[in-house]
Amino acid sequence: MTSPSSKFNPDNIVHDVLQGNKDRFRLLVKEYGLLVRGFLSARVYYLEDAEDLAQETFLVAFSKLSAYKLGTNFRAWLLSIAKFQLTNHWRKTKGRANTMDKFRHDIADAIQPEMMKASNQLEKERMAKLLACIAKLPDRTRHLIRAGLDGVRVESLAEELKVKPNAIYQIRHRAHIALRKCMESDEPEPVL
């Protein structure tokens, strides 16, 4: 399940860019931007770091584009660059990492194959549905998902919603399951 949008052929674009039409690279950024940003946002604590690494991924991809073999999997090639950026980032920040940061790295190591599989399963056209699916969530759940983005801590959120912190993770987990279902369905139905 690694094929991107059926109408989109990255190889044609790569060919054009290598011929000197570098402006066409924007199409690749547009097509795979959310995939790469999502991949990194899942693995990096601060969203700003994830965005910087995503840009770095595309900068490297652009500079090394001639190394990509036409006819192979562009998406996988791009994610391998993102993964390399991530490894570098972890290596650089390792010196500053505290015990719990190190524990996060241990978790990441333990589930790395499953995470790669999960990101491979996210198809581009399904991702495009994500925002529409989020919009269909109940207000309270949507607020909760948004709060994660805004960096509101779970303890504060739990206090605000008058629930226990565990309940926040439970609601988020259920919301994510519902979002996955919504993204996979042909006609997104209201979820939850």
């Binding site: 931007g33 959310l34 940003r37 946002s41 015990t99 940061d101 978790i107 499953e114 999960a118 993770y169």
Partner: protein
Amino acid sequence: MNNFDKDQDFLDLLAAWHENKNLSPARRKSLLDRLAKDSALRVELAGEIEMAGLTRAAQAGEPRWLELEEILEPENSQTAGFEDAVMEKLKAPDSSISFKSFSFPQLVWIGLAACVLFLFSNFFSEKPEKPGVAEIIRFEGKENSKDLKKILTQGEEFSFEHGLVEMAFRESGVHLVGTGPLQMTLVGNGRVFLTKGEIKLVVPPQGIGFVVDTMERKFVDLGTSFVVQASPQGSKVLVLDGEIAVGERNNNPSQLMRKGSMADFDRDSKMRLRSGKPSGVPEISLPPMVLRPTSLPGKILGFPKDPSELDKNKHFDHGISKQLLPLVQAGFEREDCLQGLISGRPLRFNGIAGTYDRFPKAASLRAYNSNLGWLAWYEGKIKAPQPGRYRFWGYADNHLLVAVNGKPVFEGSRYDSAFRNHLNIFRNNHPSFPCLNARAGFARGEWFEIAESTVDIDLLFGESSQNQTSGILLIEREGEAYEKTYWGQPKWPLFLTEFPEEKQVAELDALRIHMEENIQGSFSISRDAVWQVPSGS
């Protein structure tokens, strides 16, 4: 099928992943053991983390990737090096007309047409006016405002020594307020070169992309309001709202700065970001300053604003911390370095915690030169709550120093403080213990011994320039068990010489909660840790 949202291991793993929740070593080990064995848990956790990342990225909106944009720009629109472009503009202010490629016969006809037009236009006007770029709305200052032109043209240099100018750029609507001494060149409709002085810009949507150049950097507005300051030593920028891109003089990648960020640029060094985000650290309101017999007194010091009040034989361009170095070096015995400085009303020590942006004003330090900073100096005799070995923890943006019996025992200043750079006082940084918005985290000093008797204390705290000031000062007693935050930082007590009043306790509590929730720093307020000022000392 497992019901993971009721599985405590799953929830703890999520809490550790998303919130760095503190777990005991045994718990961490048991979770990793289970992860290694349980493939269903791994799949569920991976899916959950992946979805969380995707929802974060999707909701964050389209990022502005300036480096990528610069690289993907078509060749013909690539600009020359920044400095070249500026110099080109300064040399030829009207060089905005660009020539595409033409054949020689075409050029001949174009040349003839240009000559005819030139003669025709000269017939009516000997001196064609350059296009007006900006209009002066207001000028307040010593210069004769009648001598000032109302409309400023492209390439024009604009300068004045004293006062304030307000102008609007005609095409973009960009609003500029400059304070003297000011020297800048209006490079074009969307660009100024600031040589000296301070300007504040408010850029409306149509003015996005407005550029302020200094010798060190170019600041490109992305829809915002910001302040740029230039001097022979370097430049500074403070983003008041929105965001800006900061580019180097060469074509190196730009860097984004967001609301609340402040950065210094030296002539020979790289950008030094003072704070990436607004600190949001609360400012404690100033408690009553009326001194009691048991208060630790202090004074606030600054340089006079009016240069005529300065000692003409001395140079006061090095900032307040350097000015007070002789005082510290002489064990606080020699006060001649204070000559020429001005002071506000007497201070009463209430601890150091939080933001101090309004402090100089609240302490009545009026007409001081804010560019050279201020310092509060508290001194007196104090007695420890009990004998023992103590050490200070803290940090200040910018200056913080404590001396006991004339000998410095703690220095917790920012990197650019003279206290830090010239006094060589022992200090350890602890980045894993977050402290206000300091990347260094809490700094700590060496242990020092305190007996039953009173000791002399001298405490210096202040700002090097302008008003983004914050600080915190805590004290630890050796052997004392302190409550810890869930990420393992001891909540050392605030260093106090009087227990604060109820209102101030509430404000300090709000500060502590802010620190715990936003930066994972903390402290405590303890009656048992209050140092006493012997009555009448």
